[in-house]
Symmetry: C2
Subunit: 375 residues, 2 copies
Amino acid sequence: MTSGHVTRIDARAAEAIAIGAGILGTGGGGNPYLGLLMTREMLRRGANISLVDVADVPDEAVVCGIGAMGAPTVGIEKLPRGDEPLAALRALESHAGRRVTHLIAGEVGGANAMQPLIQSAFSGLPAVDGDGMGRAFPELQHCTFSIGGIACTPAAIADCHHNTTVFPRLRDTVTLERFARAVTVQMGARAGYAFPLMSGAEMRRTAVRGSYTLARAIGEAVLTARDRHADPVATILGSTDGTLLFAGRIADVERRLVAGFARGTLRLNGSGQFAGTQAEIAFQNENLIAWTGAGRERVLATVPDLISLVDEQTGDPVTTEMVRFGLRVAVLGMPAPAQLKTAAALAVVGPAAFGYDVPYRALPGVYGGALLLVI
Amino acid sequence: MTSGHVTRIDARAAEAIAIGAGILGTGGGGNPYLGLLMTREMLRRGANISLVDVADVPDEAVVCGIGAMGAPTVGIEKLPRGDEPLAALRALESHAGRRVTHLIAGEVGGANAMQPLIQSAFSGLPAVDGDGMGRAFPELQHCTFSIGGIACTPAAIADCHHNTTVFPRLRDTVTLERFARAVTVQMGARAGYAFPLMSGAEMRRTAVRGSYTLARAIGEAVLTARDRHADPVATILGSTDGTLLFAGRIADVERRLVAGFARGTLRLNGSGQFAGTQAEIAFQNENLIAWTGAGRERVLATVPDLISLVDEQTGDPVTTEMVRFGLRVAVLGMPAPAQLKTAAALAVVGPAAFGYDVPYRALPGVYGGALLLVI
């Protein structure tokens, strides 16, 4: 399935990526299932979907980030047309007078992981085995492209009627987030986006590398464990530099919608090696911080490191919409990509940026672990 | 001051236009005063501002509508930079790859009347003696360009930081209104707009002609009456095809903010020839319909005809924000421009379009009256 540095995506790979992307979503990012169905259908119709290694994209390539934005709940109730991100990309190309040669995911965590596969199938453009977050985050400015200094404009968004909006010049990605979010609401809370437009060299300097390889490896671990009736959590941990932060039953969930975000906390009563202890996780779409002890005595992990809940039995990701009393889950901690750990990055995606006055102490290991060191 | 079909604007002309535009604002459109101050300052610095007759714009000219959008109250509290519409126009030119040769007001009623003068001063581009409404209306789709079938996109908006947003292709002007309004809110409820981009021939087919000549004539009537201590209402009526619909004291005002619009009704107790009778006016930013009788017995006038309140003593326009108990006002009715009276136009700007189930019965006369027949 791998030829040189180009990975062909078949139905099994797409399924594994969808599962892995769900886990990399760290509770948010939306459900990749609908995108998986679309990818499968495109493959069934003969689409050729391939992923190119970040290192193999030439300097002079024209790379564009893509994804969908809006309310995840709307994404389930109002089926997308499918090619909204490509419509945004075409509007951006037409505005900028440049043709894009490579697609890259804005965000590998959650539903947006499937966008480069789907838009690659629609357009024939290769997608890159990398992304702008290495996980999921709630807003556009949380991407490594912006953190790395790539101009966020020109940017474009499009809806299912191919109504398009282009942002030729905005001050910063926070402004893009506000403006694009406002139009997205008018578009029915669902839009495809295309940004940033960058050279191959700029992409290589800023993108998180190998995030699709990682997503797929995590998903393969889950699928393999299922096939063999093995423990999915152990299998996932064996395929990444992940740590088991906690395991137990969800004892309490407090959730509220604030300014379009699912904010809240969940409490866990430990089981197995964690029996007799408690843990608490705070989330804003994504899980932001995990403590142990009934009174938040000790921080287990914080953003930008990945805090993911998976179902102990199936290994399936458990998103913040799905958490409920009684569910048995494992809390996995995975090291963030290096691009999210710089001082500049921590100012945007560290615990303080989300309102938690604790220092960031990195989990051990590297993003993708041994896996990405080999490729 | 008039040379051929080009009218040079001096400080007196600008003042007259501002007063006339206030009256053509029919209660809404925002206060032209700030724009007048800006125009005066540009003239003081030596700016050359001229208005070209609609008929004199060549077929191959590239004309662009301009104006400001947002909440009028914000427009007073947060002073504009001034060149927001020009920044939008430049973004639109750059996007479309065309240079604009002439500016035209989207709306002659209210504050937007001053925009072509100000942006003409900034850019040196001539402005047209015409506009897209002949009055004020609350939303972008209420313009004669859209009613006449000119595509609303590409369109652009810009804020005081010159953050820009371009709409390359939208389904219709209602969609543009929604999208642009949403971004405008994010811009601090104040943006300059540039749309539509059209040929001279398209503009001539759809624009309301001579609306600046009319605004200026109305304003001159008010200024002259002041100078001569004459009755300003009689002087205004003498310079247009206007009708005195009612005169009296404001007895009651009911006003509420609904979805960003100032909606409400005001009641009047008649005086002079109207003594012993009552009238009621309903508004949504602009005055929409006037009835006489305590129980709305008879319709005096409806949109798209102009229903304007002026102060009986000074002739100054009385906007819906200014109406208050006890104020003595004259209610003027003026015929709408022909472009707003077609079946297609009435579907957008007739009484039913604003929720009033009454037939449109046009006031007698023509927009601008004898004045515009002469020029």
